[in-house]
Symmetry: C2
């Protein structure tokens, strides 16, 4: 046993007082969002009907390296942060690896994931602007739960459009949101024009994130005193999520530990972008080197098989266009795909870093992901979310490679959340009825067919 | 804001190295278990076919004040302990009370409750004795999950008899246990003689804890290399759970805080007995004074309405007799009762303390409990288990009394777990279909009708 505890907690004084904006150190900035009407870079005026003013500033600011975290948000963070940085002694022993494995565990809060870090920030700025409430979409439900919690705390109204298939399969998630006073509507719904249009065209649809986004945006922009908020993909979200990486780095620095590899699951990129932020800063400034690995589902492989182009962010095409690695806004993962990480695109920041060769990406199949999840649960005690388990899978792969090579590789991965509301997927895994799915090239070409043709 | 952080964590060095045995300081020891055949106090030889040797020693030892926690158990504790002692700043603000409210939060582990503290201890001693596995019963599922996790960690087989109604209503809990490799059987089942007998007599029964205990005991005693383990009621369980109180006291002492009132929910008594242990020690020794309040459901009020007599611990009457506050082994809470805290009896240690006037007891109705739970969730972020919410309800009552009286009362309560697997009950609460139930005197007399008549 070394002198490093199982869990490293920061004191409240050690907790970060500012978020870090990775864009300020990027040589190639992420491509700007485009106004879908003019195809010109969006302005603050374009965005303010949709997002809160302060968040628009954060979204468009590629220069300011640090944003102070307002005191009320820091107080909220104190209810569930610092999250522990865990040394996976038991997993290391189980694998018999000389690798040293650390994970930053973001699941010890009722939303069950890291999403709360940005939810409270976005709700806070809405409150500060004097708004009545916010609207959003949710897929697997973590984001919707997180936003409900933040809104309950601040006394804001919260309207959640939940992808219909999740709404039906996860009544308990929905009930948690109700406990926090949120209004939850299955999407597509007939409460919006875009929902009615989609229902007319595809009456049997079980919904998608892209569609729920369109509904939530419409619900915000057609109501007095409401704005739309989003749990991933956006620059502002990665900014707020930098608290994950900042805490991790402070904790590791306290013990003089420098990771060789940093691994995170990637759907829209909120967790990965936050986790790697301060480490990528050092890499960009030539102060240190790290390997970064984004892990995505083989069934929704935007980085590893998507195209780096401008695309619509939502099905209804009401949102700005983003340049990102995308499978096309028409892409919907196969129904056998469990859990989140099902968005067709990827954060512009991460897309640019990947395109610049600063980050690797890997895709993994879900039965392998659940194998890793079960091994992890049995040795480390924590029942991981399917999303997080993508990172676990690759962390284990790298630890086994270190074993083969006899190397004491230091691995840090993001354990974004817990799987308590994903037991149906675990049951399928146990029953042997879980299947894998890899989209064909034609599937992806089909998804991309409706992407706009923009030469930027 | 005072100088006390939102969450007080101990360092690994500050964590307790020994459990505290409250019996060593009790003036009146709890009454001994009786052998059901001879009605004489049980001997180690009587108990060893059922329980592991080391646990039998702990069960019968009323003298040794401290038991060292073996290193392997301390290492396991390090995976999820220390648990935070939280200052409920947000709840205090919501209530506008001058009271200072603290809670010890035991829910930040996958079992979702404090049960893991004893599960790992009991599994460890079984392993040490060279056994193949253990059997147990579970009602709401926390204990079964905790034991599954401990057994997975140590490589022991784990057979869980789950009360049938819970097995059917909580498939997700069952699936968590499967993730940890446990074998889960709905009880009553035809895998045991006692189960078959009960099924023959009551084919429509949805099971009870008392019945599942009988099955688990039979399954252990009729198999080579197995022993039975129990998650509450027993002296050994309270011993292991003393880690809750010991950590709480170390954390409070660090900041010079002395609680006036200590509140815990009480079903079999595992959490309450553990939480109060080191504080009750001071009270017993005349070193300090505290008010202790046990909170139980109005629908299963063993302390407040039961009789202090010898009773059977299980329906099949295969277990030793215990002197305890009991509603009678024939008592089954009304089906509208949600969650745990449904055992007919109460730990002998707590029963004796209550009988000696060292502790108060209060019963609360479940709709009031869920009101308190929702208020707590919205202000403190954590979605509490129904069981834990009994303590929240009375903590809030006491905080409001402090407000009326303008007193800065310091309150400590045990937040034993999270409610992620209790969303059906929350849904009933939200839908207005949750009802209360208070058993009539006749109900209780009926439950007591089958208690043995022993003049001790």
């Amino acid at each position: 046993m070394e002198n490093i505890p199982y869990k490293i907690y920061l004191t409240e004084e050690e907790m970060p007082r500012a978020w870090y904006n990775l864009r300020a150190d990027m040589k190639n900035n992420p491509a700007p969002l485009l106004n879908p009407a003019t195809l010109q870079p969006v302005t603050a005026a374009d965005l303010e009907p949709v997002f809160c003013r302060e968040l628009v500033k954060q979204e468009l600011d590629n220069d300011t390296p640090y944003f102070e975290i307002p005191e009320e948000i820091r107080n909220f963070y104190r209810m569930y942060r610092p999250s522990p940085l865990v040394r996976a002694y038991c997993l290391e022993k189980e694998l018999g690896t000389p690798a040293k494995i650390y994970y930053k565990f973001e699941g010890n809060n009722t939303s069950g994931s890291h999403k709360l870090n940005s939810a409270i920030a976005q709700a806070y700025y809405a409150k500060q602007q004097g708004l009545k409430g916010v609207t959003t979409e949710t897929g697997a439900g973590q984001w919707g739960t997180a936003l409900s919690m933040a809104c309950a705390y601040l006394g804001l109204d919260c309207k959640v459009y939940m992808v219909k298939v999740s709404y039906e399969q996860k009544p308990h998630r929905r009930e948690v949101m109700r406990t926090y006073g949120a209004n939850v509507t299955p999407s597509p719904s007939n409460t919006t024009a875009v929902g009615r249009k989609i229902l007319e065209e595809f009456p049997e649809t079980t919904g998608s994130l892209g569609c729920a986004i369109s509904e939530a945006v419409e619900a915000a922009t057609t109501r007095e005193g409401y704005r739309y908020v989003l749990g991933s993909v956006l620059n502002q979200v990665l900014l707020h999520q930098s608290v994950i990486g900042l805490e991790s780095k402070i904790a590791l620095d306290k013990y003089g530990v420098k990771p060789d590899i940093i691994i995170g699951c990637a759907g829209g990129g909120s967790n990965l972008g936050g986790l790697i932020a301060p480490f990528m800063r050092e890499k960009l400034r030539g102060e240190a080197d790290y390997r970064f690995i984004a892990v995505e589902p083989a069934s929704c492989p935007s980085l590893t098989r998507g195209k780096y182009i401008y695309d619509f962010c939502d099905t209804g095409k009401v949102c700005p266009l983003a340049k990102m690695y995308t499978l096309g806004n028409g892409f919907i993962p196969s129904p056998n795909h469990a859990g989140g990480l099902r968005y067709h695109g990827m954060s512009s920041v991460l897309s640019q870093l990947y395109d610049d060769g600063l980050m690797e990406a890997r895709s993994v199949e879900q039965t392998k992901v659940f194998e890793a999840a079960e091994l992890f649960a049995r040795s480390e005690g924590i029942l991981p979310a399917p999303e997080s388990s993508h990172a676990i899978k690759v962390a284990i792969d790298e630890a086994m490679k270190a074993k083969e090579e006899g190397k004491e590789t230091t691995i840090l991965f993001g354990l974004t959340g817990t799987g308590y509301f994903d037991m149906k997927a675990y049951a399928q895994f146990h029953d042997g009825t879980m299947t894998d799915y890899i989209p064909t090239d034609e599937d992806i070409a089909g998804g991309l067919a409706t992407a706009p043709q923009i030469d930027k």
